[in-house]
């Protein structure tokens, strides 16, 4: 019988759960307190929904004139742009207006011209960063920066640093059950074994990853409830066309970096296998699993 400290809290519109094997309550409480503090700080910096977040300020003011931002946000935006370049535009933090458009519309009656016009106004390359004065300028007043596709990954980067700072050797952190950070190993194994859940049999996995000091991020355009029932279709927009991905699909990416895992799992929802291979050639340490026909006959294949 091994002891494990467990705690959780709400952040970024979901829950973060933390498991620390062989850590007593008092130490655990202290660790989770500092993690919570840090994650909430990041949320108040990046939230698209909080009017007062730095990202919201950028969205409100940076199209008129250049807007000075913190070094932290500046660096993160730089990283987002790099991922945009690395994935040939499949990762793009400016697609929010298109997402809102699709959410408010019936897919069958969409006017292609409208999509095209809207798309022309968007694109990560229209975020202009100036390193000299740490400022950002948006090329027009349509663009909205939404870091929802990378926020949890960024927060998990910070969680990882915090855990290592306080000398935690083994940990399992789940953020919204779609992003997982592992540190060290399971008390009874040499790693953490994490699987991609088979929604038809929620107790079993379609694919298993052996993880030590690594992160898994999953992306999907179908939401599946805890008992395995598909809940709803979720819009994932292909930034290259402006149209949503309709084929039910799921992607899992394991990387040493939670931020990279999250950005790439989003992008790989959109890229085809050979394009993914292309990205892998520059980021060789990642593991990618793609599940097509996610709803009826899910088959996982590793890339």
């Amino acid at each position: 019988m091994s002891a494990v400290y467990h705690s959780g809290f709400y952040a970024m519109g979901t829950r973060l759960n933390l498991l620390l094997p062989s850590i007593d309550e008092e130490v655990g409480e202290r660790v989770v307190h500092s993690i919570r503090h840090e994650v909430q700080r990041i949320e108040s910096l990046l939230s698209f929904f909080s009017r007062e977040s730095e990202v919201s300020m950028v969205n409100r003011y940076a199209w008129r004139e250049k807007y000075r931002i913190s070094e932290e946000l500046f660096t993160l935006l730089e990283t987002c742009i790099e991922f945009g370049q690395l994935t040939c535009g499949a990762f793009d933090v400016t697609m929010r207006p298109l997402l809102d458009f699709w959410k408010g519309t019936d897919s069958h009656t969409v006017d292609e011209e409208t999509v095209k016009r809207l798309r022309e106004h968007l694109g990560y390359e229209k975020i202009l960063l100036n390193k000299d004065d740490l400022s950002v300028k948006l090329e027009n007043d349509v663009i909205r920066i939404d870091l929802g596709g990378i926020g949890k990954g960024y927060a998990l980067e910070k969680v990882r640093l915090l855990l290592s700072d306080v000398g935690i050797r083994n940990a399992f952190v789940s953020f919204g059950e779609s992003s997982v950070l592992t540190v060290g190993r399971h008390p009874n194994g040499d790693c953490w074994k994490v699987g991609l859940r088979d929604h038809r049999a929620p107790e079993s996995s379609l694919q298993m990853f052996r993880m030590t000091d690594a992160s898994l991020s999953t992306s999907s355009n179908v939401l599946v409830s805890e008992n395995g029932d598909p809940k709803e279709h979720r819009h994932v927009i292909d930034p290259r066309t402006g149209f949503p991905i309709l084929e039910p699909r799921m992607v899992g990416v394991v990387s040493d970096s939670p931020l990279q895992a999250e950005a790439l799992s989003t992008a790989f929802m959109i890229l085809n296998d050979s394009q993914i291979e292309g990205v892998k050639s520059v980021a060789p340490d990642i593991h990618v699993v793609k599940i097509e026909h996610f709803l009826e006959s899910p088959v996982a294949h590793e890339l």
Partner: protein, 399 residues
């Protein structure tokens, strides 16, 4: 909750007139009328009738006769009503300072009492009502509105079984934005005090007895205890219209285990409305809004399984993925509902309970005790505000 047993099992309310519970209503103003209508709505099912009505204000006296279609005996003087031979219980909804003598007189006439909160204008009278109820073995049911509300009952069950962890604070507020006056006929200015009795110090303790008393009962209920001391402040800082009672108050009640209950009320802003919050180290319940907010989210199945595995030294694959998070919507944690059994007819439930207690011939002792403590402590709070001192329970008031 012990006072709920009355709703269990068969109500055994025979249909014959001889089994009928006969009630009298003393004071048929706004509240008395509401109580009367509620009794009428359960008359058939529970075999109960309003047999008598009483009010010394002519328009209310006449309205009471109309509301009972002339079937109830009508009185101007409650003492005559108490002489009726076959009255089982009275419902008292008169100004606060009259509660005590009416209640005590009813008990001495062998009649059970439902009395609107708070119990009385002075702690001496509160004690007298309580003791007389014990001596005469008559039911003393104080109309603290939440005691029979399903939301409160289920909320308290969660609180008492530890869902919130250790209770570390209770806070309540009751905010309105109006002058708290009832219209006085223009040709009868002498009726001002009779109609607006809530504003006069010799009749009412104002916000404390008329509003906060409910919330003091709720705090006591949540903490399963009574305060050991109270401090407070109050003033008339907005409605400076000749009233004698505070238009804003703020009190802190301390309990033996170190828990504080913060309670305030005002009638110059209604933004916050009414709420009672019970805070524990694992979560918070907001009773008025039927919500519970846990500090620690329920664990997803994968996490539960992993905890279980580790504790049992099992090393297996944990299936995750299948995001339940929707990043493109503004998801905020808005809590969970305490119960789906949300009923707004608390007054009716109170009347049902009173009738059933009468039929049983007794009520659980906790029923009167809740009323006693809530009423006592709202008057001690008044004392604290007026004296500027920390007030503790005077000798002879323990039960």
């Amino acid at each position: 909750m012990p006072w709920l047993n009355v709703f269990n099992g068969s109500s055994a309310s025979g249909k014959s007139p001889s089994d009928r519970v006969r009630l009298g209503i003393i004071g048929v103003g706004d509240r008395g009328t509401a109580l009367l209508l509620n009794i009428k709505s359960i008359a058939e099912i529970l075999n109960v009738e309003v047999a008598a009505v009483c009010d010394d204000y002519v328009p209310h006296y006449q309205r009471a006769i109309e509301l009972t279609e002339g079937k109830a005996k009508a009185f101007y003087d409650y003492r005559q009503m108490l002489e009726m031979k076959d009255l089982d219980g009275v419902v008292i909804a008169t100004p606060l300072h009259e509660h005590a003598r009416m209640t005590v007189d009813a008990f001495r006439s062998n009649i059970h009492v439902f009395c609107e909160k708070a119990m009385a204008r002075t702690i001496k009278d509160v004690r007298r009502m309580y003791e007389t109820s014990l001596q005469t073995k008559r039911i003393l049911h104080i109309g603290l509105q939440r005691m029979f509300s399903p939301v409160y009952l289920e909320g308290m069950e969660k609180i008492h079984r530890g869902d919130l962890g250790q209770i570390t604070q209770v806070r309540a507020y009751w905010h309105r934005n109006n002058n708290w006056r009832r219209p006085v006929p223009a040709d009868k200015p002498e009726l001002e005090k009779k109609i607006n009795w809530r504003l006069y110090d010799d009749i009412s303790a104002g916000l404390l007895t008329e509003l906060s008393s409910h919330q003091i009962q709720i705090a006591n209920w949540a903490l399963q205890s009574q305060p050991v001391s109270v401090m407070g402040s109050g003033s008339i800082n907005f409605w400076k219209d000749g009233r004698e009672v505070y238009d804003n108050i703020a009190c802190i009640f301390s309990y033996a285990d170190g828990t504080q209950f913060l309670c305030d009320s005002l009638i110059s802003n209604r933004h916050h409305g009414i709420e009672e919050k019970v805070l524990g180290n694992n979560g918070m319940i907001t009773l008025e809004t039927n919500k519970m907010y846990s500090e620690k989210p329920p664990s997803p199945p994968a996490i539960l399984r992993l905890i279980n595995d580790i504790e049992k030294d099992i090393f297996e694959t944990i299936p995750i993925g299948g995001a339940s998070w929707i990043p493109e919507t503004a998801v905020q944690y808005t809590g969970e509902f305490i119960t789906s059994r949300y009923r707004m007819d608390e007054t009716k439930l109170q009347m049902e309970a009173f009738v059933k207690y009468i039929r049983q011939g007794e009520a659980p002792k906790e029923l009167a005790e809740q009323g006693y403590h809530a009423s006592l402590w709202c008057l001690l709070a008044e004392n604290a505000i007026k004296s500027g001192k920390v007030v503790t329970l005077p000798k002879g008031y323990e039960i």
